[in-house]
Subunit: 357 residues, 2 copies
């Protein structure tokens, strides 16, 4: 049995008993029934995921995976390819959006090179937060053929499984996944269009900031890539190989591995959504372990969430990626578990219950 | 000049120079232009409020004001009146929702007795987080006449000004306002209906959990109270006196005082929204200092936000009050300011800017 099959074989349904106990406790806490709304629901879901009716979120990890995309040669991005590498250094120095928001949420950032198109020269002090899983120096141009080989697609997922399982030794109570890769909205739109069966126009956005002419080129390029590649609809790894990015496969692997270890996964925006699509097609059992943080500005994200059946927690018109939305989402999940664990019950606090019941 | 006039006289427009500098800095940070959406906008607003283009939110304060309501005699609440007092003790012991969420946001809770219908017996260890500003033992029943005298209405606002100004000595970089008071959704619906000129049915909800019969009684009672009292549309203090609660006036005072000291105010849900309506009618200049945290489940909240012209940051189907939504909102504001202050610029990080510009 291969590594991927082994991982998905370990994904269990949610723990109904823990969920019932968590719901019963929420109903005993000193507040009108259901008055903390979605916060209550999240805490119950985390109970089901972890099997603990009073879960505690201590170790928060954002795994930000970087990779380059051959499709950039077609002029589908407003930023040059070099930015992927430059941003990896920015992550390692702590100056990027994800560093700020992970600190705010009390989490650590793990940066993974899944396939940046250059060697990363690592300063000693940054080694702790970096993992090298480079599959190649950027994907091939999907407008001209498969983005990567079928074997490499499997390797990206296995690499993601490795990354998550290595982190478990350092402690992981919740994981957020994020991306960096100039051109990766094009790959994600191709994946979203193909899997959700929506028109390319509907699921293709401006990415880092394309103008109308750029957007038109991007849509045509993606349509062309779908024509050229004709992925196998019944084989998510083939879809990933033909349209995907190394970091997208890596994120899919992280999600599957987290679910197999009963660790909640907070999905970021459009790119991690595309990774969730791939992972969900590999194993629909994953869905119960996913929490969608925000709704991205990037068109196509809604189609992904609808397809999997996820409701985002908030919409702040964000479209940065890197795991930034996931970091804010993790903070909310943390708050929801604190409510469940720390609030006093009516009995403990000596508060009268509803008079009509 | 009286205390209220003095306070509103000090409310200045936002600092446009600080806002321009903050926006310029946001545009230099290592992310696609505008890609952190609402987080960027909030940080710019905080720059305008504080006059600091790189604001830092250290001291976070939630002021939770409690008061009882004579209207409860009409059967408009699912919980008995005693719960107001019991919940004050719960706040002081740290077991309520607001305590948990304020801890999560890194803030302190200040509990104010604005008019609970019983004496509060304060344990030594809880004295630090409690302020006694009791105006009376609950309001009168607004179905039979004014909820309080005109002078008492002024006193509630002055008390709120006092409370905020006292807290400044301990440090206040941002303030959230919250409420506790069985029956106060009825008072808030009356205020919302009268000021926004919406039908009572539209702005009256189930509060802590009324059934259909209870909701019908509540709507009729509020209509009756509006008939009996006929507030002066041009005098917000008269509106407060006739329909309001002691805690609603206190919250209005906190908001006006915060604005006069250039401190951002995060509004919680429906009750603090009604307080914001009163404060806004007293001085529309307040608006620039308000940040709406969430959209409450309580019908009528949307009408309040529309009237003032505020957009809530999120909607998590919450309706607890106490300042719980405000605490989550404060956490987001904190994150937004961290982004503005802590992210590296393109130049600092050596990241290439957009190729097409």
């Amino acid at each position: 049995m291969n590594r991927i099959e082994e991982t998905i074989g370990k994904i269990e349904p949610l723990d109904e008993t823990a969920m019932e106990s968590a719901r019963a406790r929420q109903d005993m806490l000193t507040k009108p029934l259901g008055s903390l709304g979605v916060l209550e629901d999240i805490s119950v879901k985390i109970a089901g995921i972890t099997g603990n009716y009073m879960p505690q979120i201590n170790d928060k990890v954002i795994i930000t995976m970087a990779g380059d995309h051959g499709i950039v040669d077609e002029g589908v991005s407003a930023y040059p390819k070099d930015v992927t590498l430059q941003m990896v250094y920015n992550f390692l120095s702590g100056g990027a959006g994800i560093n700020v928001l992970a600190r705010h949420a009390g989490g650590r950032v793990v940066v993974v090179d899944m396939g940046v198109a250059a060697d990363i020269e690592l300063a000693q002090e940054h080694a702790g937060g970096f993992i090298d899983k480079k599959i190649g120096y950027g994907t091939a141009n999907m407008a001209k053929g498969a983005a990567m080989s079928y074997d490499d697609a499997k390797r990206t997922i296995e690499a993601g499984i490795d990354v998550l399982e290595n982190e478990i030794a350092r402690g992981v109570d919740i994981v957020g996944v994020g991306d960096m890769g100039i051109g990766n909205t094009a790959a994600s739109s191709a994946i979203a269009a193909f899997i959700t069966d929506k028109p390319v126009e509907l699921v293709t956005g401006r990415g880092t900031g394309l103008d109308d002419a750029g957007l038109k080129i991007k849509v045509e390029t993606i349509k062309n890539a779908l024509e050229v590649n004709k992925p196998d609809r019944d084989d998510a790894i083939d879809i990933l190989a033909k349209l995907g990015g190394f970091e997208i496969g890596g994120m899919a692997g992280v999600m599957l591995a987290a679910a197999s270890h009963r660790i909640p996964v907070v999905v970021d925006g459009f790119i991690s959504g595309a990774a969730a699509l791939i992972a969900y097609e590999i194993s629909p059992k994953l869905k119960d372990y996913l929490i969608a943080s925000h709704l991205s500005v990037e068109s196509g994200h809604q189609a992904i969430l609808d397809y999997i059946g996820l409701e985002p927690l908030f919409n702040l018109n964000m479209r940065l990626g890197e795991g930034t939305g996931a970091a804010l989402g993790i903070s909310l999940v943390d708050a929801s578990c604190n409510v469940l664990r720390e609030m006093a019950t009516f009995e403990e606090a000596g508060v009268s219950e509803k008079s009509s019941e």
